[in-house]
Symmetry: C2
Subunit: 488 residues, 2 copies
């Protein structure tokens, strides 16, 4: 690859002759790894014109660099970074110049320091990855996804790929969601009541910004999805955690006053509880009494492989009280970042305006690819296949857990992709995590799911969505051994 001439700048404050400055500039580029062996330099003519110096100065500098083996000349074709040039480590940009800004003062708001834990990006290297929410390469329908993406890259879809949609979405994806996806959940909605989002995360975030302020109160489940808690903490609203039981969020335990209730009726995250129909109706009635809105994160409804999923809470809503959050990221793949929000027009309108300000719209190509993947039936097949495989893995996991006498805290009866576990009371799973990783076992410590300062530290999540069946039993054996080895 040729190094473009625009890469070269003489520092205005540099000292020494022009020739020395040019030599230094090129040598530093090589030493820092920016220019690599075999890459071609611009011609002396171009470089001279670009830098505004005489050609002879550049030629002298290049000749000198050749003598020092930084560069090599090839007949008629110019100078290249020499194969014998000094070896840079990897590319490491120079240490930044002294930063004189007082960032503790300059930052108006801080967003670091939330509950969301750091997770290992190299999870696939662990032999026993009981990791949650990543794609299993053995399950994902890569061929058909590729096929749909390719089709969405075609001339026919040029507009969908390239256009600035301003605040709008791909009409084909919206139509599919309205006509096929939502009716399966018992929901009928018009296009103006649907907004495509960058995953469920983005849907929850938009909802929080539009509905909550410092003067408003949100109810969250305890335990709950830690990233939701971070979103709400950042919104500075009052937070009222309500402990869930084996049927999910209990309406009787709700406070008298709240503005918004966040809930996961299909599969409570992380306990996997499914809210029974009667409780859904009680929750709606209670919310109406309180004058509260409900945000339904229809989390993991699609992996209800043990029993058919119940219709969404939103399908029972006759008042516009329920805001519905759906996602394709989980069941297609998390790197997709595609979800949607369904709610009353007045609410969606504000979310749309905010989304436009934050990022305009989710990329057109991704929306169109998903529309094809859904409408050609690949999504349904994928979900069916996931259900079959998860069902087998779950059985293996339950047997292994029983064999070792490990305590299940929440398994749910509809399916899901994980089991919620309770370790012995004296164990801190956060601490055990490092030891488990050394053994190649990846579990998810449960403390970040809980609210408040004194969080139980002995819970953990074991997912079976990315681990092959045959690894489950040996992984559980290692886990059981480490748990048993923990001193009381």
């Amino acid at each position: 690859m040729a190094i473009p001439v625009e890469t070269f700048f003489l520092a205005p404050e540099a000292e020494g002759t022009l020739q020395a400055q040019i030599q230094q500039m090129i040598a530093q580029g090589i030493l820092s790894g920016r220019f690599r062996k075999g890459e071609k330099l611009p011609s002396s003519r171009k470089l001279a014109a670009h830098l505004g110096v005489s050609r002879i100065t550049v030629t002298l500098a290049l000749t000198e660099l050749q003598a020092n083996d930084y560069l090599e000349a090839r007949d008629r074709s110019g100078y290249y970074v020499s194969e014998n040039a000094p070896e840079p480590p990897a590319f490491i940009a120079p240490t930044p110049r002294a930063d004189t800004i007082d960032w503790s003062r300059a930052l108006g708001r801080r967003f670091t320091g939330g509950d969301t834990p750091e997770k290992p990006q190299d999870w696939a290297r662990y032999p026993y990855p009981f990791i949650y929410g990543q794609t299993d390469p053995a399950l994902f329908d890569h061929t058909n996804w590729r096929h749909c993406a390719l089709r969405a890259l075609g001339q026919k879809d040029f507009q969908a790929l390239t256009a600035d949609y301003y605040d709008q979405d791909d009409p084909e994806l919206i139509e599919f969601i309205a006509r096929h996806t939502l009716p399966r959940r018992g929901i009928l909605a018009q296009p103006s009541e649907i907004l495509v989002t960058m995953g469920a995360q983005n849907a929850l975030w938009l909802t929080a910004q539009v509905l909550l302020t410092q003067r408003r109160t949100a109810v969250i489940e305890n335990p709950c999805y830690h990233a939701l808690r971070d979103i709400l903490t950042q919104s500075r609203c009052h937070l009222t955690p309500v402990d869930v039981d084996r049927d999910g969020l209990p309406p009787d335990a709700l406070p008298d006053q709240a503005d918004v209730i966040f809930t996961t009726p299909s599969h409570q995250a992380p306990t996997n509880a499914t809210m029974p129909r009667a409780r859904r109706e009680a929750l709606l009635a209670k919310a109406a009494d309180m004058g509260a809105l409900i945000v339904e994160d229809d989390y993991e409804f699609e992996v209800s492989f043990l029993r058919a999923p119940l219709p969404a809470l939103k399908s029972l809503d006759t008042e516009g009280r329920v805001i519905y959050v759906g996602s394709f990221s989980k069941s297609i793949f998390p790197g997709l970042r595609l979800g949607y929000l369904v709610g009353s027009k007045a609410f969606i309108r504000e979310c749309r305006a905010l989304r436009a300000s934050v990022l305009r719209h989710p990329p057109g190509h991704i929306q169109r690819t998903a529309a094809y993947f859904l409408s050609l039936g690949h999504y349904d097949s994928l979900v069916r296949r996931m259900g079959q495989v998860f069902s087998r893995r779950r059985k293996v996991m339950e047997e292994a857990l029983a064999a070792h006498g490990l305590d299940v805290a929440g398994r749910g009866v509809f399916g899901g992709s994980s089991i919620w576990m309770e370790g012995p009371a004296h164990i801190d799973m956060g601490q055990l995590d490092a030891r488990l990783r050394k053994r190649g076992v990846l579990v998810e410590p449960g403390a970040p799911f809980f609210h408040g300062k004194r969080r139980p530290r002995n819970f953990y999540r074991l997912a079976y969505s990315s681990i092959p069946s045959e690894r489950i039993a040996p992984g559980i054996t290692l886990l059981a051994r480490e748990l048993a080895d923990c001193p009381e």
Copy 2:
């Protein structure tokens, strides 16, 4: 396509016999357009099991629907929506049920009502689209983009496509930006000083959230990019507009106190002014005096086809004072939604945490595709080709404007993709816009770029980025005629 059984729900409050309810449910699906002609219904066995009713009830309902020509039976293979079924209009979801929520109270914050104007999505249908910021199909390198996207969909990049990066980015794209893109602007940065964003819009938005609060002051250029003004208005900071001149933002006109200065030195938006080197240094010195940070939106530097672009303001910054915003969306295509933010580590860390909360990360596939498109040199070729074509179009436009004696308010001397125009003082370009559109001419009224209540209404932007050369002169002729026809 088969209609999935999960689409069917009996409404709990429904009246009439079960058989009547089933008939009604299916007929309504057909009448509303949800089920389409030729689509296959689930088998009576499946439907009965799913609804929890006897099979004979379902069979009777289906037979009845067949008799009424809603359905047709095909030997052995089941029931299909009949070709003679009543015609639905297009798919129109039923009007939402009465929404009893008082949204004027329920909405905590409003985001609608900003300055960003609605733009026509069907711009390509206009014969004279002097529209700004859309892709010209004649210029974009669709073949190579497709090639790169396909490569990024390959087995080798499976992880980059599907993984949840949490708060991280594609390391290959980050490395390319650090090693090639930024050095061309005279900037050296480490990976921890770079964050990939959903276009420049998202970069500006993240920056505003992290740096500004209700107690802080931001300087903006006047006129300026309206969407930036909307972002800052939503942040509730104090806004101090400073009028630009033909060299962009004048440092002498800055107030004594401000926290953040937003500027577009490469090409002032919308006047196209390029800030000279001396003024850049004066701006940096003035900001240091004020203790203010500078946000440099390096807008349109890549279309400097008349003269080589000046190094970025950020390249002159030795203190960490400048935050740099770059974008690929403009020069590749706006639907891509890909940009980046460069700044001190402490700042990028907070932006990264906020981005994770808002949307996690830009989709992996898009990041990897861009990394290929850049590293294979297609981006450079595209920018070169755009420069050549824009240069010709600009010449044609300047000639046509001169021939009709239309007033240019800002053209810039480095290039760009538009010319900033001043109409006669008595003309309201917002009103003229509707008349121009009827003639097939699309221009951009300039009022939304200005600050405050009494905005000049006679400015407008004429872009040459999406209109073929040969349409420019006739389009300008129509424009000149409409302007001349306006009563004083």
